[in-house]
Amino acid sequence: MKFRVERDVLADAVAWTARSLPVRPSVPVLAGMLLDASEDDGRQRLKLSSFDYEVSAQVSVEIEIEEPGTTLVSGRLLAEITRNLPPQTVEVSTDGAKVVVSCGSAKFTLITLPVEDYPALPEMPQLTGAVGSDAFAAAVGQVAVAAGRDDTLPMLTGIRVEIEGDTVTLASTDRYRLAVRELAWKPENPDLSAVALVPAKTLADTAKSLTNGAEVAIALSGTESGEGMIGFEGGGRRTTTRLLDGEFPKYRALLPDSFNSVAEVQKAEFIEAVKRVSLVAERNTPLRLAFSEGQLVLEAGTGDEAQAVEVLDATLEGDEIQIAFNSAFLIDGLNAIDSDIARLQFTTSTKPAIITGKPAEEEASSDYRYLIMPVRLSS
């Protein structure tokens, strides 16, 4: 194998593929990154692959091939090396059981791992549809924040992806808050109905990293338990992830559809004030909010320790309400909405509240809802 490629092209591709290298590989060969230089449809390409039996990643870049071939080298080491090469053309070649990477006057020799032992990457499932990459990354980001992190409740560590024709609904929850986002997309089959539970961290990382192309193609297969897999492709990069098993809670029933009070607050001020007042709220002690005509009073802390209070402007329609929240969960929701004005809808102080951004047009509904469970007012 022998080929030449620009340093930046190689470094980006290796860095992206290295993200899916297992930190503690169950089998030593999985620490390797597969390099496959070949001519495909008249294009000379280098395919880099990594796999950890859950997530696979592959990227394809154009190179100048002198001799096609396949080799397997330590992925982490290759990523470190390519990141630090001088900004010149890189030449990669195999020399017996070693791989030589030369760039300018720097030369690295790496030992190879056995290519025959490397598992075959899973096949990309059939194309299901496509969505704008930036919109997708933003939507996933808004929802991933609410996913659970407790591995003993694995079905809550995923984001539920629900496809109904040209709408995709993303939902996640950790039992204390629930985030739901609706997104328009282009399905291959307009009558398609499908559901998948995708590990939240992987989906968030993938969506963020596929913004180099304009669109992300989504491919879903086998959503009936066990072998389910979802694939994403964009800008020459493709990745697959095994789906999670398990029943996602029936969350739609949790979203209240009528409210006793609706308040609106300037988002940026609100977040700053919550952070400030929460300085005196220790872990699990509540942040108290009191909404009344024209204002919101934030309070935290009890009589025998430090206390804090701050008053903000707010509009209120409906009943006055005093309610308390976990400040970190409240800040997560406020950060996720994409309007300058936060709209909060309440029923009572012991029932969940919904946070949304104020929509641009009065009667429009928000495509993002963050449901947050209040904590008891007295801790």
Binding site: R175, Y176, R177, N284, L371, V375
Partner: protein, 224 residues
């Protein structure tokens, strides 16, 4: 693990210096790179040792072999001069199941520590993962009368777990500040033989209900 019994001298060069004169000793070189030197007495402490990360370089000269063990981070060195080797064998031991903690076991420890009164009224936590020379004790706590209690937690409580707790208790009971220390063997499921051995040794057994423990959340209401 490599076991070498040899006449050797040991020099430790680091923040202090130490010297062990030429004498027959047991040298252990383990899979994680650590090296320890033992005399034919005492049950748990080597005469000298080097913890990982460290590298071992063996060189030979006219007087015999020299092992230079260098610590990866601090640069401290242990220099073993080996004159006569009586025994040199290597054995693949593989990972030890007794020391690996899985997610549920770690969570069980967290939950029990948070709700230590599950063991009885008046119990208070001293600390989790209390370090001893032979490994960490899952939970060290005090009972309602102020006596010290060591808790060994397992998902499945079998005889090995009881033996492990017995070793910890022997060690802890030598510490004048802690003794008398009694043991509690806590698991989701305790095998009958383990229960018999524990009871015989005065160790009490507690069966833990993982779901109930998780349910005793500190009063935080949930969406579902």
């Amino acid at each position: 693990m490599r076991l070498v019994i040899a006449r050797c001298s040991v020099d430790y060069v680091g923040r202090l210096t130490a010297h062990l004169p030429m004498a027959p000793r047991l040298i252990l070189h383990k899979a994680d790179g650590s090296v320890s030197i033992h005399a034919d007495d005492r049950a748990f402490k080597p005469l000298n040792w080097m913890n990982p990360p460290c590298t071992v370089r063996e060189t030979t000269d006219d007087d015999g072999t020299v092992w230079t063990v260098t610590h990866g981070k601090s640069g401290e060195k242990l220099i073993l001069r080996i004159e006569e080797v009586w025994h040199d064998s290597s054995h693949e031991l593989g990972p030890d199941p007794g020391l690996r903690k899985d997610g549920v076991e770690a969570h069980l420890q967290e939950l029990l520590a948070e709700h230590i009164t599950t063991l009885g009224e008046g119990y208070t936590l001293i600390r989790r993962e209390y370090p001893t020379a032979i490994g960490p004790v899952d939970i060290l706590c005090r009972d309602g009368d102020g006596a010290t209690v060591a808790v060994e937690l397992k998902r499945r409580g079998d005889i090995d777990g009881v033996e492990q707790l017995t070793r910890y208790l022997d060690l802890l009971n030598r510490d004048p500040a802690l003794k008398p220390v009694r043991g509690v063997f806590a698991a989701q499921e305790i095998k009958p033989q383990a229960r018999v051995l524990a009871t015989d040794r005065g160790i009490s057994c507690v069966t833990l209900d993982y779901d109930a423990l998780r349910g005793i959340e500190p009063d935080i209401p949930r969406l579902f």
